[in-house]
Protein backbone atom coordinates (compact mmCIF):
# COMPACT_ATOMS: atom_id res chain seq x y z
CA UNK A 1 0.00 0.00 0.00
CA UNK A 2 1.34 3.43 -0.81
CA UNK A 3 2.03 5.82 2.07
CA UNK A 4 -0.98 8.10 1.49
CA UNK A 5 -3.36 5.17 1.61
CA UNK A 6 -1.60 3.92 4.75
CA UNK A 7 -2.11 7.32 6.35
CA UNK A 8 -5.81 7.32 5.47
CA UNK A 9 -6.43 3.73 6.48
CA UNK A 10 -5.22 4.43 10.04
CA UNK A 11 -7.90 7.04 10.39
CA UNK A 12 -10.87 5.07 9.12
CA UNK A 13 -12.63 4.96 12.56
CA UNK A 14 -12.94 8.75 12.45
CA UNK A 15 -13.16 9.16 8.68
CA UNK A 16 -16.44 7.27 8.75
CA UNK A 17 -17.92 10.21 10.65
CA UNK A 18 -15.91 13.16 9.39
CA UNK A 19 -15.87 12.40 5.65
CA UNK A 20 -19.68 12.29 5.32
CA UNK A 21 -20.04 15.26 7.67
CA UNK A 22 -17.66 17.53 5.77
CA UNK A 23 -18.96 16.48 2.36
CA UNK A 24 -22.48 17.03 3.67
CA UNK A 25 -21.47 20.62 4.35
CA UNK A 26 -20.11 20.77 0.81
CA UNK A 27 -23.47 19.53 -0.45
CA UNK A 28 -25.21 22.33 1.45
CA UNK A 29 -22.75 24.86 0.04
CA UNK A 30 -23.40 23.53 -3.45
CA UNK A 31 -26.97 24.78 -2.98
CA UNK A 32 -25.70 28.35 -3.22
CA UNK A 33 -23.24 27.74 -6.07
CA UNK A 34 -24.60 25.09 -8.39
CA UNK A 35 -27.41 22.79 -7.34
CA UNK A 36 -26.35 19.89 -9.49
CA UNK A 37 -23.17 19.45 -7.40
CA UNK A 38 -25.15 18.64 -4.25
CA UNK A 39 -25.91 15.03 -5.14
CA UNK A 40 -22.32 14.09 -6.11
CA UNK A 41 -21.06 15.59 -2.83
CA UNK A 42 -23.55 13.62 -0.75
CA UNK A 43 -22.83 10.50 -2.77
CA UNK A 44 -19.08 10.92 -2.33
CA UNK A 45 -19.50 11.45 1.41
CA UNK A 46 -21.47 8.27 1.93
CA UNK A 47 -19.25 6.33 -0.47
CA UNK A 48 -16.12 7.26 1.49
CA UNK A 49 -17.99 6.27 4.65
CA UNK A 50 -18.82 2.91 3.11
CA UNK A 51 -15.21 2.35 2.03
CA UNK A 52 -13.97 3.16 5.54
CA UNK A 53 -16.61 0.81 7.00
CA UNK A 54 -15.67 -2.09 4.74
CA UNK A 55 -12.01 -1.48 5.47
CA UNK A 56 -12.74 -1.76 9.20
CA UNK A 57 -14.93 -4.79 8.63
CA UNK A 58 -12.02 -6.61 6.99
CA UNK A 59 -9.59 -5.51 9.72
CA UNK A 60 -11.86 -6.52 12.62
CA UNK A 61 -12.68 -9.85 10.98
CA UNK A 62 -9.01 -10.70 11.46
CA UNK A 63 -9.47 -10.33 15.19
CA UNK A 64 -8.24 -6.75 15.57
CA UNK A 65 -10.12 -4.20 17.70
CA UNK A 66 -9.60 -0.70 16.32
CA UNK A 67 -9.14 2.05 18.90
CA UNK A 68 -8.67 5.62 17.69
CA UNK A 69 -7.63 8.45 20.00
CA UNK A 70 -8.91 11.86 18.92
CA UNK A 71 -5.96 14.20 18.38
CA UNK A 72 -3.74 11.69 20.19
CA UNK A 73 -5.28 12.36 23.63
CA UNK A 74 -5.40 9.13 25.57
CA UNK A 75 -8.57 8.10 27.36
CA UNK A 76 -9.96 8.75 29.96
CA UNK A 77 -9.04 12.39 29.12
CA UNK A 78 -9.50 12.30 25.37
CA UNK A 79 -12.32 10.99 23.24
CA UNK A 80 -11.73 7.51 21.88
CA UNK A 81 -13.50 5.66 19.07
CA UNK A 82 -13.56 1.91 19.41
CA UNK A 83 -14.63 -0.46 16.65
CA UNK A 84 -15.08 -4.14 17.34
CA UNK A 85 -16.40 -6.79 14.95
CA UNK A 86 -20.06 -6.07 15.63
CA UNK A 87 -19.81 -2.28 15.39
CA UNK A 88 -17.91 -2.63 12.10
CA UNK A 89 -20.77 -4.78 10.82
CA UNK A 90 -23.39 -2.24 11.87
CA UNK A 91 -21.36 0.63 10.40
CA UNK A 92 -21.17 -1.17 7.07
CA UNK A 93 -24.93 -1.76 7.18
CA UNK A 94 -25.61 1.92 7.97
CA UNK A 95 -23.45 3.21 5.14
CA UNK A 96 -24.69 0.66 2.60
CA UNK A 97 -28.35 1.31 3.43
CA UNK A 98 -27.87 5.08 3.31
CA UNK A 99 -25.96 4.96 0.01
CA UNK A 100 -28.46 2.68 -1.73
CA UNK A 101 -31.38 4.81 -0.60
CA UNK A 102 -29.60 8.01 -1.64
CA UNK A 103 -29.20 6.69 -5.19
CA UNK A 104 -32.76 5.38 -5.30
CA UNK A 105 -34.24 8.61 -3.91
CA UNK A 106 -32.40 11.07 -6.11
CA UNK A 107 -35.20 11.52 -8.63
CA UNK A 108 -37.96 11.91 -6.05
CA UNK A 109 -35.82 14.23 -3.91
CA UNK A 110 -35.10 16.52 -6.84
CA UNK A 111 -38.79 16.54 -7.74
CA UNK A 112 -40.19 16.97 -4.20
CA UNK A 113 -37.76 19.53 -2.82
CA UNK A 114 -36.59 21.34 -6.00
CA UNK A 115 -34.52 24.30 -4.75
CA UNK A 116 -34.29 22.77 -1.27
CA UNK A 117 -32.81 19.51 -2.58
CA UNK A 118 -29.22 20.45 -1.53
CA UNK A 119 -30.47 21.08 2.01
CA UNK A 120 -32.14 17.68 1.99
CA UNK A 121 -28.95 15.98 0.80
CA UNK A 122 -26.92 17.76 3.47
CA UNK A 123 -29.33 16.85 6.28
CA UNK A 124 -29.47 13.29 5.03
CA UNK A 125 -25.70 12.96 5.18
CA UNK A 126 -25.51 14.66 8.61
CA UNK A 127 -28.12 12.22 9.86
CA UNK A 128 -26.13 9.24 8.63
CA UNK A 129 -22.81 10.55 9.98
CA UNK A 130 -24.48 11.11 13.38
CA UNK A 131 -25.65 7.51 13.42
CA UNK A 132 -22.22 6.25 12.37
CA UNK A 133 -20.61 8.28 15.14
CA UNK A 134 -23.01 6.86 17.72
CA UNK A 135 -21.90 3.38 16.75
CA UNK A 136 -18.19 4.20 16.64
CA UNK A 137 -17.69 6.35 19.74
CA UNK A 138 -16.56 5.08 23.08
CA UNK A 139 -17.22 8.31 24.97
CA UNK A 140 -20.66 8.49 26.55
CA UNK A 141 -20.99 12.27 26.26
CA UNK A 142 -19.76 12.26 22.68
CA UNK A 143 -22.46 9.67 22.10
CA UNK A 144 -25.06 12.14 23.37
CA UNK A 145 -23.83 14.86 21.00
CA UNK A 146 -23.85 12.52 18.01
CA UNK A 147 -27.29 11.26 19.03
CA UNK A 148 -28.53 14.84 18.90
CA UNK A 149 -26.82 15.49 15.56
CA UNK A 150 -28.65 12.50 14.10
CA UNK A 151 -31.94 13.42 15.81
CA UNK A 152 -31.94 17.11 14.89
CA UNK A 153 -31.27 16.21 11.24
CA UNK A 154 -34.07 13.65 11.48
CA UNK A 155 -36.58 16.22 12.81
CA UNK A 156 -35.69 18.58 9.98
CA UNK A 157 -35.83 15.80 7.37
CA UNK A 158 -39.31 14.79 8.50
CA UNK A 159 -40.41 18.42 8.79
CA UNK A 160 -39.61 18.94 5.10
CA UNK A 161 -42.71 16.90 4.24
CA UNK A 162 -46.14 18.35 3.51
CA UNK A 163 -49.44 18.62 5.39
CA UNK A 164 -49.19 16.75 8.66
CA UNK A 165 -45.42 16.18 8.52
CA UNK A 166 -44.30 19.28 10.50
CA UNK A 167 -46.73 18.54 13.33
CA UNK A 168 -45.60 14.90 13.44
CA UNK A 169 -41.97 16.07 13.41
CA UNK A 170 -42.63 18.43 16.32
CA UNK A 171 -44.16 15.63 18.37
CA UNK A 172 -41.18 13.47 17.51
CA UNK A 173 -38.88 16.29 18.60
CA UNK A 174 -40.56 16.58 22.00
CA UNK A 175 -40.47 12.82 22.58
CA UNK A 176 -36.96 12.44 21.18
CA UNK A 177 -35.62 15.26 23.35
CA UNK A 178 -37.15 13.69 26.47
CA UNK A 179 -35.39 10.46 25.51
CA UNK A 180 -32.03 12.12 24.83
CA UNK A 181 -32.27 14.18 28.03
CA UNK A 182 -32.95 11.10 30.15
CA UNK A 183 -29.84 9.60 28.62
CA UNK A 184 -27.87 12.78 29.41
CA UNK A 185 -29.11 12.65 33.01
CA UNK A 186 -27.85 9.06 33.13
CA UNK A 187 -24.47 10.30 31.87
CA UNK A 188 -24.46 12.85 34.72
CA UNK A 189 -25.00 10.10 37.30
CA UNK A 190 -22.26 7.95 35.78
CA UNK A 191 -19.85 10.88 35.66
CA UNK A 192 -20.56 11.87 39.27
CA UNK A 193 -20.06 8.29 40.44
CA UNK A 194 -16.95 7.43 38.41
CA UNK A 195 -15.39 10.68 37.18
CA UNK A 196 -14.95 9.21 33.72
CA UNK A 197 -16.71 9.30 30.38
CA UNK A 198 -14.88 6.51 28.58
CA UNK A 199 -16.88 3.28 28.38
CA UNK A 200 -13.97 0.87 28.92
CA UNK A 201 -12.59 2.99 31.74
CA UNK A 202 -16.00 3.22 33.43
CA UNK A 203 -16.50 -0.53 33.13
CA UNK A 204 -13.22 -1.10 35.00
CA UNK A 205 -14.09 1.43 37.71
CA UNK A 206 -17.57 -0.03 38.17
CA UNK A 207 -16.10 -3.51 38.47
CA UNK A 208 -13.97 -2.35 41.40
CA UNK A 209 -16.74 -0.28 42.97
CA UNK A 210 -19.32 -3.05 43.27
CA UNK A 211 -23.09 -2.47 43.59
CA UNK A 212 -23.99 1.19 43.88
CA UNK A 213 -27.43 2.88 43.92
CA UNK A 214 -26.18 5.81 41.82
CA UNK A 215 -25.20 3.42 39.03
CA UNK A 216 -28.53 1.60 39.24
CA UNK A 217 -30.24 4.98 38.81
CA UNK A 218 -27.95 5.86 35.90
CA UNK A 219 -28.78 2.53 34.31
CA UNK A 220 -32.52 3.15 34.66
CA UNK A 221 -32.20 6.68 33.21
CA UNK A 222 -30.10 5.59 30.22
CA UNK A 223 -32.40 2.68 29.41
CA UNK A 224 -35.55 4.82 29.70
CA UNK A 225 -34.06 7.39 27.38
CA UNK A 226 -33.02 4.81 24.82
CA UNK A 227 -36.41 3.07 24.94
CA UNK A 228 -38.05 6.37 24.00
CA UNK A 229 -35.49 6.85 21.22
CA UNK A 230 -36.00 3.37 19.77
CA UNK A 231 -39.82 3.59 19.93
CA UNK A 232 -40.23 0.57 22.20
CA UNK A 233 -43.87 -0.19 22.87
CA UNK A 234 -45.30 2.15 25.51
CA UNK A 235 -43.29 5.11 24.17
CA UNK A 236 -43.65 4.36 20.45
CA UNK A 237 -46.32 7.03 19.89
CA UNK A 238 -44.15 9.38 17.86
CA UNK A 239 -43.06 6.84 15.26
CA UNK A 240 -46.13 5.97 13.12
CA UNK A 241 -47.09 9.58 12.39
CA UNK A 242 -43.54 10.80 11.86
CA UNK A 243 -42.70 8.00 9.44
CA UNK A 244 -46.04 8.02 7.61
CA UNK A 245 -46.05 11.72 6.81
CA UNK A 246 -42.33 12.14 6.12
CA UNK A 247 -41.32 12.24 2.44
CA UNK A 248 -40.74 8.69 1.14
CA UNK A 249 -37.03 9.25 0.55
CA UNK A 250 -36.68 10.23 4.22
CA UNK A 251 -38.85 7.47 5.65
CA UNK A 252 -36.89 4.76 3.85
CA UNK A 253 -33.59 5.53 5.52
CA UNK A 254 -35.04 6.53 8.86
CA UNK A 255 -37.22 3.46 9.34
CA UNK A 256 -34.26 1.29 8.40
CA UNK A 257 -31.69 2.93 10.67
CA UNK A 258 -32.85 5.13 13.59
CA UNK A 259 -34.46 2.49 15.78
CA UNK A 260 -31.76 -0.07 15.00
CA UNK A 261 -28.92 2.21 16.03
CA UNK A 262 -30.71 3.00 19.33
CA UNK A 263 -30.97 -0.74 19.98
CA UNK A 264 -27.29 -1.11 19.17
CA UNK A 265 -26.50 1.58 21.76
CA UNK A 266 -28.62 -0.22 24.36
CA UNK A 267 -26.78 -3.48 23.67
CA UNK A 268 -23.40 -1.78 23.81
CA UNK A 269 -24.13 0.01 27.09
CA UNK A 270 -25.39 -3.16 28.76
CA UNK A 271 -22.59 -5.39 27.47
CA UNK A 272 -19.57 -3.14 27.71
CA UNK A 273 -20.33 -0.32 30.16
CA UNK A 274 -22.61 -1.42 32.98
CA UNK A 275 -21.69 -4.57 34.92
CA UNK A 276 -23.56 -7.53 33.43
CA UNK A 277 -24.60 -8.54 36.94
CA UNK A 278 -26.60 -5.29 37.28
CA UNK A 279 -28.66 -6.08 34.18
CA UNK A 280 -29.18 -9.81 34.52
CA UNK A 281 -28.42 -11.06 38.04
CA UNK A 282 -31.64 -10.15 39.80
CA UNK A 283 -33.67 -11.09 36.74
CA UNK A 284 -36.28 -8.46 37.58
CA UNK A 285 -35.14 -5.88 35.01
CA UNK A 286 -34.57 -8.48 32.30
CA UNK A 287 -37.95 -10.15 32.88
CA UNK A 288 -39.76 -6.82 32.87
CA UNK A 289 -38.10 -5.88 29.56
CA UNK A 290 -38.99 -9.21 27.93
CA UNK A 291 -42.62 -8.88 29.05
CA UNK A 292 -42.70 -5.30 27.82
CA UNK A 293 -41.45 -6.56 24.46
CA UNK A 294 -44.03 -9.35 24.43
CA UNK A 295 -46.87 -6.89 24.99
CA UNK A 296 -45.28 -4.57 22.43
CA UNK A 297 -45.26 -7.29 19.77
CA UNK A 298 -48.97 -8.00 20.24
CA UNK A 299 -49.96 -4.34 20.48
CA UNK A 300 -47.93 -3.35 17.40
CA UNK A 301 -49.18 -6.30 15.35
CA UNK A 302 -52.84 -5.61 16.14
CA UNK A 303 -52.44 -1.91 15.42
CA UNK A 304 -50.86 -2.86 12.08
CA UNK A 305 -53.94 -4.97 11.30
CA UNK A 306 -56.19 -1.95 11.80
CA UNK A 307 -54.44 0.29 9.25
CA UNK A 308 -55.88 1.18 5.88
CA UNK A 309 -52.78 2.34 4.05
CA UNK A 310 -49.69 0.35 3.26
CA UNK A 311 -46.99 2.75 4.45
CA UNK A 312 -48.75 3.36 7.76
CA UNK A 313 -49.16 -0.37 8.30
CA UNK A 314 -45.42 -0.81 7.80
CA UNK A 315 -44.62 1.80 10.45
CA UNK A 316 -46.40 -0.39 12.99
CA UNK A 317 -44.39 -3.36 11.77
CA UNK A 318 -41.28 -1.32 12.61
CA UNK A 319 -42.62 -1.03 16.18
CA UNK A 320 -43.10 -4.82 16.27
CA UNK A 321 -39.57 -5.44 15.00
CA UNK A 322 -38.13 -3.19 17.70
CA UNK A 323 -39.91 -5.31 20.30
CA UNK A 324 -38.36 -8.49 18.79
CA UNK A 325 -34.88 -7.13 19.31
CA UNK A 326 -35.46 -5.67 22.77
CA UNK A 327 -37.07 -8.90 23.96
CA UNK A 328 -34.44 -11.11 22.36
CA UNK A 329 -31.58 -9.18 23.89
CA UNK A 330 -33.05 -9.16 27.41
CA UNK A 331 -33.56 -12.92 27.36
CA UNK A 332 -29.96 -12.78 28.54
CA UNK A 333 -28.72 -15.94 26.84
CA UNK A 334 -26.36 -16.30 23.90
CA UNK A 335 -29.00 -17.43 21.42
CA UNK A 336 -31.35 -14.56 22.23
CA UNK A 337 -28.57 -11.96 22.06
CA UNK A 338 -27.26 -13.40 18.79
CA UNK A 339 -30.80 -13.24 17.42
CA UNK A 340 -31.24 -9.63 18.49
CA UNK A 341 -27.87 -8.56 17.08
CA UNK A 342 -28.36 -10.43 13.83
CA UNK A 343 -31.84 -8.97 13.55
CA UNK A 344 -30.43 -5.43 13.75
CA UNK A 345 -28.59 -6.12 10.50
CA UNK A 346 -31.38 -8.11 8.83
CA UNK A 347 -34.12 -5.72 9.89
CA UNK A 348 -32.21 -2.72 8.55
CA UNK A 349 -31.98 -4.47 5.17
CA UNK A 350 -35.56 -5.73 5.00
CA UNK A 351 -37.14 -2.54 6.32
CA UNK A 352 -35.27 -0.55 3.67
CA UNK A 353 -36.34 -3.00 0.97
CA UNK A 354 -40.02 -2.97 1.88
CA UNK A 355 -40.18 0.80 2.29
CA UNK A 356 -38.38 1.30 -1.03
CA UNK A 357 -40.91 -0.94 -2.74
CA UNK A 358 -43.75 1.12 -1.25
CA UNK A 359 -41.99 4.32 -2.32
CA UNK A 360 -41.92 2.97 -5.90
CA UNK A 361 -45.63 2.19 -5.72
CA UNK A 362 -46.39 5.61 -4.31
CA UNK A 363 -44.27 7.27 -6.99
CA UNK A 364 -46.29 5.51 -9.71
CA UNK A 365 -49.77 5.45 -8.24
CA UNK A 366 -49.56 8.55 -6.08
CA UNK A 367 -51.22 6.76 -3.17
CA UNK A 368 -50.85 3.67 -1.06
CA UNK A 369 -54.27 2.92 0.43
CA UNK A 370 -55.00 -0.79 0.06
CA UNK A 371 -57.66 -0.01 -2.54
CA UNK A 372 -55.00 1.72 -4.67
CA UNK A 373 -52.88 -1.40 -4.97
CA UNK A 374 -55.10 -3.26 -7.43
CA UNK A 375 -53.43 -4.86 -10.42
CA UNK A 376 -49.92 -4.01 -9.28
CA UNK A 377 -48.43 -7.42 -10.08
CA UNK A 378 -49.17 -6.75 -13.74
CA UNK A 379 -48.19 -3.11 -13.92
CA UNK A 380 -45.13 -3.24 -11.61
CA UNK A 381 -43.88 -6.84 -11.64
CA UNK A 382 -40.30 -6.11 -10.51
CA UNK A 383 -41.23 -3.83 -7.63
CA UNK A 384 -43.82 -6.33 -6.52
CA UNK A 385 -41.29 -9.16 -6.79
CA UNK A 386 -39.00 -7.26 -4.43
CA UNK A 387 -41.96 -6.55 -2.17
CA UNK A 388 -42.77 -10.25 -2.02
CA UNK A 389 -39.21 -11.12 -1.03
CA UNK A 390 -39.11 -8.45 1.68
CA UNK A 391 -42.58 -9.52 2.86
CA UNK A 392 -41.36 -13.10 3.17
CA UNK A 393 -38.30 -11.87 5.08
CA UNK A 394 -40.48 -9.93 7.53
CA UNK A 395 -42.77 -12.92 8.01
CA UNK A 396 -39.68 -15.13 8.40
CA UNK A 397 -39.77 -17.66 5.55
CA UNK A 398 -36.58 -19.79 5.20
CA UNK A 399 -34.45 -18.66 2.27
CA UNK A 400 -34.63 -15.02 3.38
CA UNK A 401 -32.57 -13.52 6.20
CA UNK A 402 -35.60 -12.83 8.42
CA UNK A 403 -36.02 -16.52 9.12
CA UNK A 404 -32.56 -16.99 10.61
CA UNK A 405 -32.65 -14.15 13.13
CA UNK A 406 -36.14 -15.20 14.14
CA UNK A 407 -34.91 -18.76 14.57
CA UNK A 408 -32.24 -17.56 17.01
CA UNK A 409 -34.78 -15.40 18.86
CA UNK A 410 -37.25 -18.25 19.23
CA UNK A 411 -34.62 -20.75 20.35
CA UNK A 412 -33.34 -18.16 22.84
CA UNK A 413 -36.88 -17.74 24.15
CA UNK A 414 -37.33 -21.49 24.54
CA UNK A 415 -33.95 -21.81 26.25
CA UNK A 416 -34.85 -19.06 28.73
CA UNK A 417 -38.32 -20.53 29.27
CA UNK A 418 -40.00 -17.28 28.22
CA UNK A 419 -42.98 -18.91 26.55
CA UNK A 420 -44.93 -15.67 26.36
CA UNK A 421 -42.21 -14.20 24.17
CA UNK A 422 -42.04 -17.31 21.98
CA UNK A 423 -45.80 -17.24 21.45
CA UNK A 424 -45.64 -13.52 20.66
CA UNK A 425 -42.94 -14.13 18.02
CA UNK A 426 -44.91 -16.91 16.37
CA UNK A 427 -48.17 -14.93 16.47
CA UNK A 428 -46.44 -11.92 14.99
CA UNK A 429 -45.26 -14.08 12.08
CA UNK A 430 -48.83 -15.21 11.48
CA UNK A 431 -50.18 -11.65 11.68
CA UNK A 432 -47.42 -10.44 9.34
CA UNK A 433 -48.39 -13.21 6.93
CA UNK A 434 -52.01 -12.05 7.05
CA UNK A 435 -50.97 -8.44 6.48
CA UNK A 436 -48.75 -9.18 3.51
CA UNK A 437 -50.95 -11.76 1.84
CA UNK A 438 -53.84 -9.33 2.07
CA UNK A 439 -51.72 -6.89 0.06
CA UNK A 440 -50.59 -9.57 -2.39
CA UNK A 441 -54.16 -10.70 -2.92
CA UNK A 442 -55.40 -7.20 -3.71
CA UNK A 443 -52.44 -6.55 -5.99
CA UNK A 444 -52.72 -9.87 -7.80
CA UNK A 445 -56.43 -10.56 -8.25
CA UNK A 446 -58.19 -7.25 -8.16
CA UNK A 447 -58.39 -5.01 -11.18
CA UNK A 448 -58.18 -1.23 -10.91
CA UNK A 449 -61.61 0.15 -11.82
CA UNK A 450 -60.67 3.55 -13.17
CA UNK A 451 -58.29 2.24 -15.87
CA UNK A 452 -60.93 0.12 -17.56
CA UNK A 453 -64.11 1.98 -16.83
CA UNK A 454 -67.16 -0.05 -17.79
CA UNK A 455 -65.43 -3.14 -19.13
CA UNK A 456 -63.79 -4.10 -15.88
CA UNK A 457 -67.13 -4.40 -14.13
CA UNK A 458 -68.07 -7.33 -16.32
CA UNK A 459 -64.79 -9.01 -15.49
CA UNK A 460 -65.01 -8.30 -11.81
CA UNK A 461 -67.67 -10.91 -11.22
CA UNK A 462 -65.49 -13.74 -12.51
CA UNK A 463 -62.02 -12.48 -11.71
CA UNK A 464 -61.58 -15.25 -9.15
CA UNK A 465 -61.64 -17.79 -11.94
CA UNK A 466 -58.46 -16.21 -13.30
CA UNK A 467 -59.21 -16.20 -17.02
CA UNK A 468 -61.26 -13.04 -16.56
CA UNK A 469 -58.16 -10.96 -15.80
CA UNK A 470 -57.51 -8.38 -18.49
CA UNK A 471 -53.83 -7.77 -19.15
CA UNK A 472 -52.58 -4.39 -18.00
CA UNK A 473 -49.81 -2.40 -19.58
CA UNK A 474 -46.59 -2.36 -17.61
CA UNK A 475 -45.90 0.86 -15.73
CA UNK A 476 -42.79 0.14 -13.69
CA UNK A 477 -41.01 2.68 -11.53
CA UNK A 478 -38.11 4.54 -13.10
CA UNK A 479 -34.96 2.48 -13.55
CA UNK A 480 -32.91 4.47 -11.00
CA UNK A 481 -35.43 3.49 -8.31
CA UNK A 482 -35.86 -0.06 -9.52
CA UNK A 483 -32.25 -1.26 -9.64
CA UNK A 484 -31.43 -0.35 -6.00
CA UNK A 485 -34.65 -2.09 -4.95
CA UNK A 486 -33.73 -5.28 -6.79
CA UNK A 487 -30.22 -5.15 -5.29
CA UNK A 488 -31.78 -4.90 -1.81
CA UNK A 489 -34.14 -7.81 -2.50
CA UNK A 490 -31.21 -9.98 -3.57
CA UNK A 491 -29.30 -8.80 -0.48
CA UNK A 492 -32.09 -10.20 1.69
CA UNK A 493 -31.51 -13.61 0.14
CA UNK A 494 -27.71 -13.27 0.30
CA UNK A 495 -27.81 -12.30 3.98
CA UNK A 496 -29.86 -15.41 4.61
CA UNK A 497 -27.22 -17.61 3.02
CA UNK A 498 -24.37 -15.83 4.82
CA UNK A 499 -25.97 -16.06 8.28
CA UNK A 500 -23.51 -18.68 9.58
CA UNK A 501 -20.46 -16.67 8.57
CA UNK A 502 -21.85 -13.40 9.95
CA UNK A 503 -22.66 -14.96 13.31
CA UNK A 504 -19.29 -16.71 13.64
CA UNK A 505 -17.11 -13.86 12.44
CA UNK A 506 -18.84 -10.74 13.68
CA UNK A 507 -21.52 -11.37 16.29
CA UNK A 508 -20.10 -14.17 18.41
CA UNK A 509 -16.84 -12.38 19.33
CA UNK A 510 -18.82 -9.31 20.44
CA UNK A 511 -20.85 -11.17 23.08
CA UNK A 512 -18.93 -11.45 26.36
CA UNK A 513 -17.85 -14.95 27.38
CA UNK A 514 -19.85 -15.06 30.59
CA UNK A 515 -23.12 -14.93 28.61
CA UNK A 516 -24.01 -18.56 27.98
Amino acid sequence: MDPIMMEFSQHSPVLIVMAPFLLGMAAAAAGWANRKWAFPMAFLGLLSGLIAAIHMLIKTAKGEILVYHMAGWLPPFGIAYRIDTFSALILTAIMAVALINLVASRASAEKDFTEKAPAWYALYVFFVSGLAGMVATEDIFNLYVLLEIASLSAYALIGMGHNRAPFAALNYLLMGTIGASFYLMGVAYIYIATGSLNMTDIAVILQEMGPNPTITMAFALCMTGLLAKMAAFPVHGWLPNAYTFAPDATTNVMAALTTKVSIYIMIRLVLSLFPLSLAFDTGIIADAMVWLATIGIFAGAFMALAQKSFKRMLTYIVVVEVAYMVGGFWLGNRAGMTGAMLHILNDAAMTLCVFMAVANIRARRGADAFSDLKGLFQTMPFSMGALVISGLAIIGIPPTCGFFSKWYLISGGIEAGHWGFVIALLSASIINAILFFKVFEIAFFEVPAETFGQNSREHESDHHTHHGLPSLAMAEARISMLIPLIIMALTLLALGFMTGGIVNLFIDPAIPGQVL
Partner: protein, 127 residues
Amino acid sequence: MDAIPYFIGKYNYWGCIFLFFLGMYAMISKTNLIKKIIGLNIFQTSIILFFISASFKHDATLPILMEEHKGAIDPVMYLNPLPHVLMLTAIVVAVATLGVALTLALKVYRIYGTLEEDEINHAIQSH
Protein backbone atom coordinates in the same frame (compact mmCIF):
# COMPACT_ATOMS: atom_id res chain seq x y z
CA MET B 1 -31.04 8.95 58.38
CA ASP B 2 -31.69 12.54 59.35
CA ALA B 3 -34.32 13.88 57.00
CA ILE B 4 -33.72 17.62 57.33
CA PRO B 5 -30.03 17.71 56.29
CA TYR B 6 -30.93 15.25 53.59
CA PHE B 7 -33.30 17.71 51.99
CA ILE B 8 -31.66 21.01 52.93
CA GLY B 9 -28.07 19.93 52.34
CA LYS B 10 -28.78 18.82 48.78
CA TYR B 11 -31.16 21.65 47.91
CA ASN B 12 -29.40 22.27 44.59
CA TYR B 13 -30.16 18.76 43.36
CA TRP B 14 -33.76 18.97 44.57
CA GLY B 15 -34.06 22.21 42.62
CA CYS B 16 -32.80 20.50 39.48
CA ILE B 17 -35.14 17.55 39.92
CA PHE B 18 -38.04 19.97 40.43
CA LEU B 19 -37.19 21.80 37.19
CA PHE B 20 -36.72 18.47 35.42
CA PHE B 21 -40.25 17.33 36.23
CA LEU B 22 -41.73 20.79 35.78
CA GLY B 23 -40.39 20.88 32.24
CA MET B 24 -41.57 17.38 31.49
CA TYR B 25 -45.01 18.18 32.89
CA ALA B 26 -45.29 21.20 30.60
CA MET B 27 -44.18 19.17 27.57
CA ILE B 28 -46.71 16.44 28.19
CA SER B 29 -49.78 18.23 29.50
CA LYS B 30 -49.82 21.71 27.94
CA THR B 31 -51.83 21.97 24.73
CA ASN B 32 -50.19 25.12 23.38
CA LEU B 33 -47.16 24.24 21.27
CA ILE B 34 -45.15 27.27 22.43
CA LYS B 35 -45.77 26.31 26.06
CA LYS B 36 -44.58 22.81 25.24
CA ILE B 37 -41.41 24.26 23.74
CA ILE B 38 -40.88 26.42 26.85
CA GLY B 39 -41.27 23.25 28.91
CA LEU B 40 -38.67 21.60 26.68
CA ASN B 41 -36.22 24.39 27.41
CA ILE B 42 -36.80 24.22 31.18
CA PHE B 43 -36.31 20.46 30.99
CA GLN B 44 -32.96 20.74 29.23
CA THR B 45 -31.79 23.58 31.46
CA SER B 46 -32.43 21.48 34.57
CA ILE B 47 -29.87 18.93 33.38
CA ILE B 48 -27.34 21.65 32.63
CA LEU B 49 -27.79 23.01 36.17
CA PHE B 50 -27.45 19.49 37.55
CA PHE B 51 -24.04 19.01 35.92
CA ILE B 52 -22.82 22.46 36.95
CA SER B 53 -23.92 22.20 40.57
CA ALA B 54 -22.34 18.75 40.82
CA SER B 55 -18.99 20.19 39.81
CA PHE B 56 -19.11 23.06 42.33
CA LYS B 57 -16.53 23.10 45.10
CA HIS B 58 -16.18 25.54 48.02
CA ASP B 59 -13.15 27.83 48.05
CA ALA B 60 -11.94 26.57 44.69
CA THR B 61 -11.04 28.62 41.66
CA LEU B 62 -10.90 28.38 37.89
CA PRO B 63 -8.34 25.93 36.54
CA ILE B 64 -6.15 28.68 35.08
CA LEU B 65 -2.52 29.13 36.08
CA MET B 66 -2.12 32.66 37.48
CA GLU B 67 1.06 34.67 37.94
CA GLU B 68 0.71 34.85 41.74
CA HIS B 69 0.50 31.07 42.16
CA LYS B 70 4.14 30.78 41.03
CA GLY B 71 4.24 27.11 40.17
CA ALA B 72 2.58 25.68 43.28
CA ILE B 73 -0.34 23.71 41.86
CA ASP B 74 -2.72 21.94 44.19
CA PRO B 75 -5.59 20.14 42.46
CA VAL B 76 -7.81 20.70 45.52
CA MET B 77 -7.80 24.43 44.79
CA TYR B 78 -9.31 24.07 41.36
CA LEU B 79 -12.75 23.31 40.01
CA ASN B 80 -13.12 20.42 37.61
CA PRO B 81 -13.53 22.18 34.25
CA LEU B 82 -14.86 19.16 32.36
CA PRO B 83 -18.57 19.41 33.37
CA HIS B 84 -18.54 23.07 32.35
CA VAL B 85 -17.08 22.18 28.97
CA LEU B 86 -19.62 19.40 28.51
CA MET B 87 -22.47 21.75 29.36
CA LEU B 88 -21.19 24.32 26.90
CA THR B 89 -21.82 21.67 24.26
CA ALA B 90 -25.16 20.74 25.81
CA ILE B 91 -26.23 24.40 25.67
CA VAL B 92 -25.39 24.49 21.97
CA VAL B 93 -27.47 21.33 21.48
CA ALA B 94 -30.33 22.87 23.47
CA VAL B 95 -30.26 26.05 21.37
CA ALA B 96 -30.26 24.01 18.16
CA THR B 97 -33.20 21.94 19.41
CA LEU B 98 -35.07 25.11 20.33
CA GLY B 99 -34.42 26.52 16.87
CA VAL B 100 -35.67 23.42 15.09
CA ALA B 101 -38.71 23.23 17.40
CA LEU B 102 -39.67 26.86 16.77
CA THR B 103 -39.22 26.42 13.02
CA LEU B 104 -41.50 23.39 13.04
CA ALA B 105 -44.04 25.28 15.18
CA LEU B 106 -43.98 28.09 12.63
CA LYS B 107 -44.60 25.60 9.82
CA VAL B 108 -47.46 24.05 11.80
CA TYR B 109 -48.96 27.51 12.31
CA ARG B 110 -48.80 28.25 8.58
CA ILE B 111 -50.65 25.02 7.80
CA TYR B 112 -53.35 25.05 10.49
CA GLY B 113 -53.50 28.72 11.52
CA THR B 114 -53.28 27.82 15.20
CA LEU B 115 -50.81 26.60 17.80
CA GLU B 116 -53.37 24.87 20.06
CA GLU B 117 -52.86 21.13 19.86
CA ASP B 118 -56.54 20.21 20.31
CA GLU B 119 -57.56 22.57 17.50
CA ILE B 120 -54.92 21.04 15.24
CA ASN B 121 -56.13 17.53 16.07
CA HIS B 122 -59.68 18.69 15.37
CA ALA B 123 -58.61 20.10 11.99
CA ILE B 124 -56.85 16.82 11.15
CA GLN B 125 -59.87 14.72 12.05
CA SER B 126 -62.41 16.85 10.22
CA HIS B 127 -60.21 16.93 7.12
